[in-house]
């Protein structure tokens, strides 16, 4: 087994009296696709926020490729290769789709004095257009991000997150706010595009069909703890997961596994 790319040890987070993460021990192998499930308030986003540096853990350590990154600022962690998308798409609404990606590409390629060079350079534009093709948003090249549909905005958000060629990508509810019919096509585009980069992908998801279809492994959160860590076929039948996470409405088909 290869050494873990991300190793989380005894992670703990309190918000005053509320415990949002408690004794989390988990590690991830390179190239894994992991679904993070749990009811609202179970600590999923807190977990993602701690890994990406948005929140400092109360205790514990996060090791990325054997290097401790606990408490580093988001931009430093992003530069090391852990990027994320957001539950509510975080794009630059007053810039066009092209300019959104150009900004991301420019920062990824030349964060130092290169920042003084013009943004609209042919080589940057070529790269941005390549990414647009891959994420199927090329049709909106010159549209303002504020004019995009939810789905296209999600795609742009995710595309911007992978521009810096991360090794780990965390997607916070990539299908939230998307209609049921659109969810699967959107995830197909995302997962196809991501597969080309051989990333470790962690994504938070409420839709169990999506989870079952796309992930190798499921982490179920309940009250700040991981109550189940198993392949989807097993995890989605786990009695604790059924009781605390899924509830009664989802019944996995017998024998259905990872697609």
């Amino acid at each position: 087994m290869p050494p873990p790319i991300l190793d989380v040890r005894n992670l703990h987070k309190n918000f005053g009296a509320v415990t949002a993460a408690s004794n989390i021990n988990v590690s991830f192998a390179p190239g894994e696709t992991v679904g993070i499930i749990g009811a609202n308030g179970a600590g999923k986003t807190t977990f993602v926020n701690m890994i990406t540096g948005y929140l400092k853990p109360t205790r514990g350590a996060i090791l990325y490729r054997s290097r401790e990154i606990t408490g580093m600022p988001p931009r430093a962690i992003a530069r090391l290769g852990i990027c994320r998308s957001f539950q509510v798409s975080q794009v630059f609404v007053s810039l066009s789709v092209l300019e959104n990606l150009l900004t991301a590409v420019a920062i990824a390629e030349s964060p130092g004095l290169g920042m003084l060079r013009p943004l609209r350079r042919p080589e940057l534009i070529a790269r941005a257009e390549g990414i647009m093709e891959r994420y199927r948003i090329a049709a909106y090249r010159d549209h303002l991000a504020s004019d995009l549909s939810q789905g296209a905005r999600k795609l742009l958000d995710i595309a911007m997150a992978v521009v810096g060629k991360p090794r780990i990508l965390l997607l916070d509810e990539p299908t939230s706010g998307i209609s049921t019919e659109e969810k699967q096509p959107l995830m197909d585009v995302v997962m196809d595009a991501l597969r080309q980069d051989e990333l470790t992908v962690l994504f938070i998801e409420h839709d169990m069909e999506i989870v079952e279809r796309y992930v190798d492994r499921v982490l179920a959160f309940y009250q700040g703890e991981i109550i189940c860590d198993a392949p989807p076929a097993e995890a989605l039948r786990d009695p604790k997961v059924l009781e605390f996470v899924i509830g009664a409405e989802y019944q996995p088909e017998p024998g259905a596994g990872h697609a």
């Binding site: 990406t52 600022p73 988001p74 931009r75 992003a78 530069r79 990027c83 994320r84 957001f86 975080q90 794009v91 630059f92 609404v93 007053s94 810039l95 300019e99 959104n100 150009l102 900004t103 991301a104 420019a106 920062i107 990824a108 030349s110 964060p111 290169g114 920042m115 003084l116 060079r117 013009p118 943004l119 609209r120 911007m160 997150a161 521009v163 810096g164």
Partner: protein, 332 residues
């Protein structure tokens, strides 16, 4: 696209040539208006750069005044009277102070950013007013400077020389800011106005980008203040450092509009003319006219005078006259 082929830069260069000729032909009272207007325009250019990130400073008279007082104090106490030296010192000092204060203000946004700047400017105002050696409430008068050693006997020739220098420096500042706005860093600061979190997660420090922008604005404000001191031939705390002077800069920024680096020059000149005529017409209520004008601009041309100019140019030439991202900072 290189900077030399940028339409705005070409337009500015053409305008520089025209203005150098115009300056030699117009009567001296217009020379004065141009001096005051364009001195302030350089400072306003800095505020426009901040506005592109949706930051407004109510305290940039701190740097404007710092530049002006640097000129006055060096001339008085160091007996140096060359315009080049005085202006360089003015820009340098305000940039250094801006760099240091930048470490604090870069952490704040919105009204806190605006008011923190105001607070710093009030400190300088307080120091100036209370200190006899710094001219107290009266300020100082400034002798006409030399220009690289050349002294002009005739006062109006001296003014003309200052205007030529101001035009060239103003042109250089506008071109420099245009280059900055086109750069990744410059475009990024528009992005920061939209979404700082995303900028951080892309791997860049939003605070650092704002700090750089802030220092640029303080350099421009100090330089503008230095020119204003030489143009007026005097400095005083009330018209240069007090919060009303900061307000004036913000006023002109909104009047000009954020659409182009040329906008501050048009807006500032119009402001000078407007104020002069309003004062002559209604010496005790001129603010009413000036305020009313701003209301009209905000209601009917939120893109400022520049949007008006762009609209006219579009009608005349049928092309988009470098309107650029005019909507970027209009607030809606």
């Amino acid at each position: 696209m290189s900077l030399a082929r940028d339409r705005t830069v070409q337009g500015l260069t053409l305008a520089l040539g025209v203005m150098l000729i115009v300056a030699a032909l117009v009567p001296s009272w217009i020379v004065n208006q141009l001096l005051f207007g364009f001195s302030r325009a350089i400072a306003v250019l800095g505020l426009m750069v901040l506005w592109r990130t949706r930051l407004v400073s109510f305290g940039h008279a701190l740097y404007f005044g710092l530049g002006a007082y640097t000129v006055a104090l060096i001339e008085r106490y160091a007996q140096v009277s060359d315009a080049f030296v005085l202006l360089a010192a003015a820009a340098l000092l305000s940039t250094v102070v801006g760099f240091l204060i930048g470490f604090i203000v870069r952490r704040y946004r919105d009204i806190f950013f605006a008011m923190l700047n105001l607070a710093f400017s009030m400190i300088l105002y307080g120091i100036l007013v209370k200190t006899e050696a710094l001219g107290s409430t009266d300020g100082f008068t400034i002798e006409a400077p030399t220009y690289a050693g050349i002294a002009f006997e005739d006062a109006s020739q001296g003014k003309l020389a200052l205007l030529c220098l101001l035009l060239v420096v103003g042109w250089a500042c506008a071109v420099g800011v245009q280059a900055y706005l086109r750069s990744t860093l410059g475009r990024l600061t528009t992005a920061i106005g939209d979404n700082e979190i995303r900028v951080e997660y892309l791997g860049y420090s939003a605070e650092k980008a704002i700090h750089i922008k802030y220092v640029l604005s303080t350099f421009l404000a100090g330089l503008g203040g230095g020119f204003m001191a030489l143009a007026l031939g005097q400095v005083d705390p009330d018209s240069m450092v007090n919060w009303t002077a900061s307000g004036e800069l913000v006023f002109v920024t909104i009047l000009s509009g954020p659409g182009s680096v040329a906008a501050p020059f048009i807006g500032s000149f119009v402001f000078e003319i407007l104020r002069t005529y309003a004062f002559e017409w209604m010496p005790h209520a001129w603010q009413m006219i000036v305020g009313g004008t701003l209301l009209v601009i905000i209601f009917f041309v939120p893109g400022g005078l520049w949007a008006l100019v762009a609209r006219v140019a579009e009608r005349l030439f049928g092309a988009r006259a470098g309107a650029g991202p005019a909507a970027a900072g209009t607030g809606r």
